[in-house]
Amino acid sequence: MRHVVLVAGRDLRARRGRYALAALAIAAGTALLVALSTVTFGLKVYVEGQIRELYPADIMLYSDRIEIPVDIVEVIGSMEGVDAVEPLILVGASLGGRGATLVGIPIDDVDYFAISLVEGRLPRSGGEAIVEETLGDLYGGRATVELTESLLGPARRIEVEVVGVLESLLKGFVQTFQVNLVVVPLGWLQEVLGAEGFVNAVLITVRDKAYVEPLADALKEAFPSAQVYTQRSLIRAAIRIVDLLGVFFNVIIAVTLAISGIVVFAVMAITARERMREVALLKAIGVSGRAVALSVLLEVLAISVVGGVTGMAAGYYGAHVLKALLGYMGVSFDLPILAVPEVFVGGVATALAVAVASSTLPIVRLSRLRPLEILARGQ
């Protein structure tokens, strides 16, 4: 084994410039992989956190019609494992041309929704509303919420007085997530819509996540015309969107890694060609083909570990740079850049795999070389 290490070490030194190039190619691929994976991971963490904030409940029962009797709240509340049940009305609306969501919540249970006010106070009586920061310009005045004709009822206008501003959820992450909430007391909204005793959404929080699935199934059966969302299913749906971005990233990563692989292959193929005489000599004096293969493999591993670890570090800091860059471009949400061990390990492992795969052909060629072909030609 010592001869394997000796030959590998000395060759690494003799061709260090060229091997540094190969390591650089590997580093570039790994850096991109680690940077984009770190950003994707951060995005998932961010989106998941935002969804948990936006939908604090574990289960949401939702219908297009205001047809769910409020009495059901009592029934669900008494069920095994249920912690809290909140009825509410969620209606798509527009406010001076801007899309908005009109939400009626029981004012007594406002704590449940963990609303944090930026300005003003909570609504106390009918006709008062609080709006999201994105509609903050309406604070202190009156506003007209327009409802179009829908399954909920005919088109109508509702006048509200904006008494407070709540902190934007999702902090303006993606336009479609910008819900422009207008929150009013539930009782009043029921009255206005002529739907006393009914809601179109129920939020349920359970004591133990194990209750989520059976409870969701039971609700689906009880309200076949309504949809049952679990927080997990919402997160999954959102993660799927992030994953779509991930697929795009993966294409970029794959192309870069392919280029890294080609560079490594070129370097190793040229080197193999140059080393044919040397290897022929080694085999002639009794060094085995396996030892030759092992020696070159050792070099490739050394090159890719150096490249992989460099790329890993560069990628992690690159993710910070990417975030700063997005900031300059106006995307100003606080994307968490986390040091994810899986991403690091995956990055280095990919570096090794790409380098070894790209060197296989030159390595096999060298190890199978028949010494006489070269020695005879040299004579």
Binding site: A14, L281, L375, Q379
Partner: protein, 274 residues
């Protein structure tokens, strides 16, 4: 007997309809401890014969025995081990690994054979001293002259104390003085270590150190009737060379008892050494 070729043909087919007969019915026996010179013009088949004796090439027809083994159809793994432990080569041109120093080149076959690192380098130094190049131990091949490279190659060929030393035109790239020094070295290796030497040459002076001269012409091998003249002059300090060879041999005997426990080929070799 060390090597035996029995009715060996070697036919090369460089392309589909070209046949080159490099050896034709070659029969030759090399006894243990003998120095045999293959003489003949360029292209007569000397290198081909050496390659077959050294197990680097296989005959098209006939049988080949090396150190008591029938190697005609032996598998490549066994031949690699045989070359590592029993045969030392000095090739016509390519002989040293360019990225290794002279010392490392000499130590390499010992490391491959599993000698402890320290001992391998100790013996490599003794061998370099024997060929008069200890002061060049740290030099790379490109920093050495042709003759110096040749001597490092000889030290490398002797590293694992081979039973057989195969030399292909060992003096073709060096001046007359260096050539004579090398011949003295070969004779001392043969007499102190008992190494069987087979060499190809077209130089009668080189052949003169051989106990047996064999002529190769057009692939046909024939025993020489003539015993050639002695080497003129003694340009090197024979006593010194002989002394360093003895030191190599003593160290080797020490190391070999260790190695023999691990390797069947080495155990057999230990019994065959003087």
């Amino acid at each position: 007997m060390a090597i035996s070729l029995v009715d060996v043909d070697k036919v090369y087919r460089p392309s589909r309809d070209v046949e080159v007969v490099a050896l034709r019915g070659a029969t030759l026996t090399v006894e243990r401890g003998e120095i045999v010179a293959l003489m003949g013009p360029s292209g007569s088949g000397k290198t081909t014969a050496l390659n077959i004796m050294g197990t680097l090439d296989r005959p098209t027809r006939g049988r080949v025995y090396v150190a008591g083994f029938d190697v005609t159809e032996a598998d490549e793994g066994f031949l690699e081990a045989l070359r590592l432990h029993y045969i030392g080569f000095v090739f016509q041109s390519i002989n040293l690994v360019p990225s290794l120093t002279a010392l490392e080149n000499v130590a390499l076959p010992m490391l491959a054979a599993g000698y402890p690192r320290h001992e391998a380098y100790r013996k490599a130094r003794l061998l370099l001293d024997a060929v008069g190049l200890l002061d060049r131990a740290g030099h790379y091949p490109h920093q050495l002259s042709g003759g110096q490279q040749q001597r490092v190659a000889i030290a490398r060929a002797l590293a694992n104390m081979p039973l057989i030393l195969i030399l292909d035109e060992p003096t073709s790239n060096v001046d007359v003085a260096t050539a004579r020094a090398l011949l003295t070295l070969f004779r001392e290796i043969n007499s102190v270590l008992g190494t069987t030497i087979v060499m190809a040459t077209h130089d009668p002076e080189v052949a003169s150190i051989a106990g047996k001269v064999v002529y190769v012409r057009g692939g046909v091998v024939s025993r020489s009737a003539v015993k050639l003249a002695e080497v003129a002059g003694e340009p090197v300090d024979v006593e010194r060379v002989r002394e360093s060879m003895r030191r190599v041999f003593e160290l080797e005997k020490e190391l070999m008892s260790d190695m023999a426990g691990r390797n069947e080929l080495v155990r057999r070799k230990a019994q065959l050494l003087p």
